[in-house]
Amino acid sequence: MYKLFLRSLISVLFLLGFSLNANAEFKVGFVYVGPTGDHGWTYQHDEGRKAVEAAGIKTTYVESVPEGADAERVIRQLAQSGHDLIFTTSFGYMDPTNKVAKDFPNVKFEHATGYKREHSNVATYSARFYEGRTLLGHMAGKMTKTNTIGYIASFPIPEVIRGINAMTLAAQKVNPNIKTKIVWVFTWYDPGKESEAAQALIDQGADIIMQHTDSTAPVQVAEKAGVWSFGQASDMQRFAPKSILTSIIDDWAPYYVERSIAARDGTWKQQDTWHGLKEGMVAMAPYNSVMGDDLVKEVEQLQKDLASGKAHSFTGPIYDQKGNILVAEGAVADDGMLAGMNVYVKGVEGDIPQ
């Protein structure tokens, strides 16, 4: 009995100390869908977290949290244990984030790639990866000899289709004979399948390989086969030093630092952020010098123009596969259209899987 009492006393004191401590210090929590060592999506989010930590703010993270019921439990746990700002970094965390936000009005929530902001303490953010795809398209159009670009696609969602379209439009601009061949693998993450897809595209005449999947397998296949490739999410250069022309890098660090400081100082506001090359949320790895100085300069200029707003990835006239006009001459696609994009532009082969 005495022991039981002592134990309870200790736990009460412990909890008290924990909550006091929690109240005292500003803390930021992160929820990841994959392991921090995936060398892709989650890896880049964790780099962002490290930057927040380096700015003098305490952070914690939970990795490999499945989307669904588990996610809500984890987010709730973070909110309960005294985190003041919580980043939930996958599309599937959208509803759990909003649900937990309702019960914790004093905690701020930031959800990546979603669109639901049901409560005033939920903000959303994403990156304009398609601007990077435009640059890849330009390089691909110039570098291809077979006029065939191989594209490994994951799932038919607007994010992926936007990338295919942006790349194709840019490639057509510099090379009207370009063909984009697409293989859907229906996974974000299966090195075996991704490399088989890359090999199939190469065997079908593609001499440029790009991917909207997360492993480094496709660039390694490209390296072996002696064709060009582009890295995805993080700099994959060391996996295919000869083949990679550049990589699109997701850089969340500045955003995470800015929002964490705002939340700490009480200036945090709900907002929907969609940043691109301009803000640096989308960055490009160093360009491979094999492209030649002229092309590198061209691409660097295009990158500057996209960043300054002088150029836009979706500038009209843009037609769909049947020849219907999507964006009128001289106009640019608005964000609403981009966010819901579900048709291919002219020049892409095949149908979108429904």
């Binding site: 994959g34 392991p35 060592g37 995936d38 060398h39 890896y43 490999s64 191989g150 061949k181 697409i182 293989v183 859907w184 229906f186 996974t187 993450y189 299966d190 090195p191 075996g192 399948k193 991704e194 490399s195 088989e196 897809a197 090999q199 199939a200 595209l201 065997d203 079908q204 005449g205 593609a206 492993s215 480094t216 397998a217 390694q220 060391r238 996996f239 082969e349 095949g350 149908d351 899987p353 429904q354």
Partner: protein, 310 residues
Amino acid sequence: MSFDLNFIGILIGAIMASSVPLILAASGELITERSGVLNLGVEGMMIIGAISGFALMVVTDNLFFAVIGSMFSGLIISLIFGLLTQSLLTNHVATGLALTIFGIGMSAMIGKNFVGIPGKEFPLLFPNLKESIPFLGPIFFGHSIILYFAFGLPFLTNYFLKKTKTGLIVRAVGDSPTSASNQGINVTLVRYSCILYGGAMCGLAGAYLSLIYTPQWIENMTGGRGWIALALVVFATWSPIKVLIGALIFGGITILQLHMQAVGLRIPVQLLSALPYIMTIIVLVIISRDSRKIKLNTPTSLGQIFYKEK
């Protein structure tokens, strides 16, 4: 699709390479199952093999050690399964599932420090012949030694089960452990050996993925191939040669459907993606419809716990 002969040769070579992990894992599991043990931990043993092979390659910089080590770690992990099911008489299905979950988690933990390290070039045999002989070159040459081993394995397994005394003992244990035991056969020992052999082959299958097929370590990189190997054994009605055929069909259609997509055939992509599974099942069901033979090959005591009364 271009149809020149050399291209078809390259395609066949690619199909062979992609079916190797299935052949290895399924051949190992086949022996385990013929002894009456149902080990659903194939996926877990494969992934453990994949990470240990890769980790040893990085640490020792020696591919030979890496391959041997992956087999050894598959063997160790299957020993856990053996201890639980044979000595502690736990349920095969539950233990096997637990082994898979354990393997995936364990490999992720060990793998933490090995993510993002590029793999090493695995030596391929006769790369010159591959280039110089059209059509036949890419089919027969320029593969790793493990591929040749994998393609010989089903025939060796078949010979072992049908023509050797030890093979007969394995089958006897799988069909009727009680009678075998009464004949003086140590059922537990036989089953242990078969479990360990299966584990080693699954480990090798995993190492093939992380060392040769996609030379790198990524969490969960086996991507369900263990489950496909398990299904192959059943649909091939426990015949090693049919396992080989099934694995080739599966690998073949997987790669062909990617080519069909790349060519832009207007077939729904979802159907194409499902095609490998559908075709493999259809073909194996057709070639194994002889019910007398199925009866002959099916280990009657599969998944049942054997307990020798003293």
